[in-house]
């Protein structure tokens, strides 16, 4: 009987285990996690911290669900070592010999080399355990370091719990990897309207206090802090693969081919820990998003059991909620391109705002505030070198998707912008 071991019970590992058993009902599928919980959604932890959902809606599978599916679930089972040649996983209380392995260890928060970061009251927001800690935290003033989606959501959650919250960001705008300045500014205003202080272009130097955090010292000011949330980014969790057991890509993620196979025979990888290719732009990198992990997991799992499915690529599309406002982004930002090379079409409507980032005659990115349908709707129009004039000037036909129609909805400004270049 083939033994398929899956390390990690995030969405990637969970999908991998379920896909493996679906393809080969006779396989012994062992799914292991170092955490005491089965699959939960890391994406809604902030909603749980804010008390908007109970923990039952954060946890997506029970041990019973996995049992019914024929999957052996090992909770609180950290893999202490991996003997790759012998195909052995080591635990505190034994070993497991596998025939096929899926590495789905996910990502870990980047913890800066800061004086004071080991103090009590300093947390990250990655795991359900972190969320419980934040919920139980005592105090009134919180400082959140980092304004990526997790940082923004953490700040909002704590504000909803009644804390005084300050956000500190190194770069010149919030959510700098998702939005250009105009949309970022709108979101900053929303945050401030709800009583969250936002400090941009500031670097955190130290967390002050004795054994407990008392404050955060930046290069401009000192902020009182009973809780400090460090959310400056994520890196692939690679402690299992040290000593070059599998090849890594230049972004730091595990290198995998289209079938999610690593450089080592019999070993697949999926989720936040892998490097993948952006479906739309072709860039290789880390695209640590739920939907990418989910699809990669499904493909890796099926392939361990004998299938030959191929991953089409990662979708770099993110949606963020700032209090009651929604914003989304796909593709490349104007600020990622030399200044005179990108043009931005901005349109405001009763439904919200849209920014289309153009380069030469092509669409390279879309951002939206309010109703975000146009982001996904225009995905198909973002393709290397696709000439938008051609898309606009031909007669609409019923076989054409909404992408062409969304372009037609802004065609006057769009044609003017393209022609001006």
């Amino acid at each position: 009987m083939k033994v398929i071991a899956v390390v990690g019970n995030g969405i990637a590992g969970s999908e991998a285990a379920e896909a493996a058993i679906r393809v080969d009902q006779k396989a012994r599928v062992v799914l292991m996690t170092k955490e005491p919980f089965p699959l939960y959604s890391a994406c809604v932890l902030a909603d749980y911290v804010a008390d908007r959902i109970p923990v039952q809606r954060v946890i997506l599978r029970t041990a019973e669900d996995f049992g019914k599916a024929g999957i052996e679930l090992l909770l609180s089972s950290q893999v202490t070592d991996w003997s790759a040649e012998e195909q052995l996983l080591h635990f505190d209380d034994g070993t497991l010999r596998y025939d096929r392995l899926v590495i789905a260890t996910g990502s870990r928060p980047i913890v800066p080399d800061l004086p004071g970061f080991g103090k009590q009251g300093v947390v990250t927001l990655k795991t359900l355990g972190d969320a419980e800690m934040l919920r139980a935290a005592q105090g009134s003033a919180a400082v959140v370091v980092g304004t990526g989606p997790v940082g923004i959501e953490a700040a909002i959650a704590l504000r909803r719990r009644g804390w005084t919250v300050a956000l500190v960001e190194l770069l010149d705008r919030v959510l700098p990897r998702l939005f250009d300045a105009p949309l970022a500014a709108a979101l900053k205003t929303r945050l401030e309207d709800h009583g969250i202080d936002v400090f941009l272009g500031e670097r955190v130097l130290e967390i002050t206090g004795k054994t407990r955090a008392e404050g955060v010292k930046t290069d401009r000011r000192t902020l009182a802090a009973d809780a400090v949330v460090l959310v400056i980014g994520m890196r692939p969790e690679l402690s299992l693969v040290k000593k070059d057991k599998v090849a890594l890509g230049s972004s730091g993620g595990i290198q995998v081919d289209r079938q999610m196979k690593t450089s080592r025979e019999g070993v697949w990888a999926c989720g936040d820990c892998v490097e993948s290719e952006d479906l739309i732009t072709g860039r290789r990198g880390l695209f640590m998003l739920w939907h990418n992990a989910r699809l990669q997991g499904r493909i890796a799992g099926a392939n361990t059991a004998g299938a030959a499915r191929r991953y089409p690529g990662s979708l770099n599309l993110t949606t963020v909620n700032v209090f009651d406002e929604t914003a989304a982004s796909v593709g490349i930002l104007a600020s990622e391109v030399p200044e005179d090379e990108a043009m931005v079409l901005h349109r405001k409507g009763p439904w919200g705002e849209l920014w289309m980032v153009l380069k030469d005659q092509s669409l390279i990115g879309v951002q939206a505030l309010g109703r975000t349908e146009r982001v996904g709707g225009l995905m198909g129009m973002i393709s290397k070198g696709k000439d938008l004039r051609k898309a606009l000037l031909k007669e609409p036909n019923s076989a054409e998707g909404p992408g062409g129609w969304i372009l037609r909805g802004v065609q006057k400004d769009l044609l003017r912008l393209i022609d001006a270049n």
Binding site: S41, C43, V44, D47, R52, I53, R57, L60, W290, H291, R294, L295, L315, L317, T319, N321, T326, A328, V330, W351, A368, R371, T372, E373, R374, V375, G376, G377, M379, G380, P396, N397, S398, A399, G401, P402, G403, W405, I406, R408, G409, V410, Q411, K412
Partner: protein
């Protein structure tokens, strides 16, 4: 089934959908939307196509979007849905609806086989047809474009 050449952009479909499904006239809570051709007389109604490999189901952070066994339709589970709007952002067909007040994802569910928008569309731009017949109709339409009589 959509015939975009017949759509006059009246948006009655949006109004009646929200009235039927949400019991209030609020196009923002409609499950069908109309896209406009700026400066020209053209419009396209869009709604969920219940894709075989739905991107919205993949994106949902609480796995709330599933295919209903009896109908084959893609339906978000209202109780599980946390209203993040991820499905709205990702749908490549402008097909997801959203209740911005209750923060819940919405999908056209064909009104149990008797769609309200079809009943009210003044030009017949939206029709409800058996799937196999609609495939034949689409092929005929494509053929006529290529080989006009």
């Amino acid at each position: 089934m959509i015939d975009s050449e017949r759509c006059i952009g009246c948006k009655l479909c949006e109004v009646v959908c929200s009235v039927k499904k949400e019991r209030v006239s609020d196009p923002s809570r409609s499950r069908i939307h109309v896209l406009f051709w700026e400066g020209e007389a053209g419009a396209l109604p869009v709604f969920c196509q219940h894709c075989e490999e739905p991107l919205c189901a993949l994106v949902c952070p609480v796995n709330a979007v599933k295919r209903e066994e009896s109908t084959g339709l893609i339906i978000p589970d209202r109780e599980l849905c946390v209203g993040c709007g991820g499905c709205v952002s990702v749908c490549p067909l402008y097909g997801a609806g959203f209740d911005g007040i209750e923060k819940k994802a919405l999908r056209c569910d064909l009104c149990q086989g008797d769609p309200t928008c079809v009943k009210y569309c003044p030009t017949g731009a939206i029709r409800f047809a058996d799937r196999d017949q609609s495939q034949i109709d689409k092929k005929r339409a494509a053929a006529r474009k290529l080989y006009p009589r």
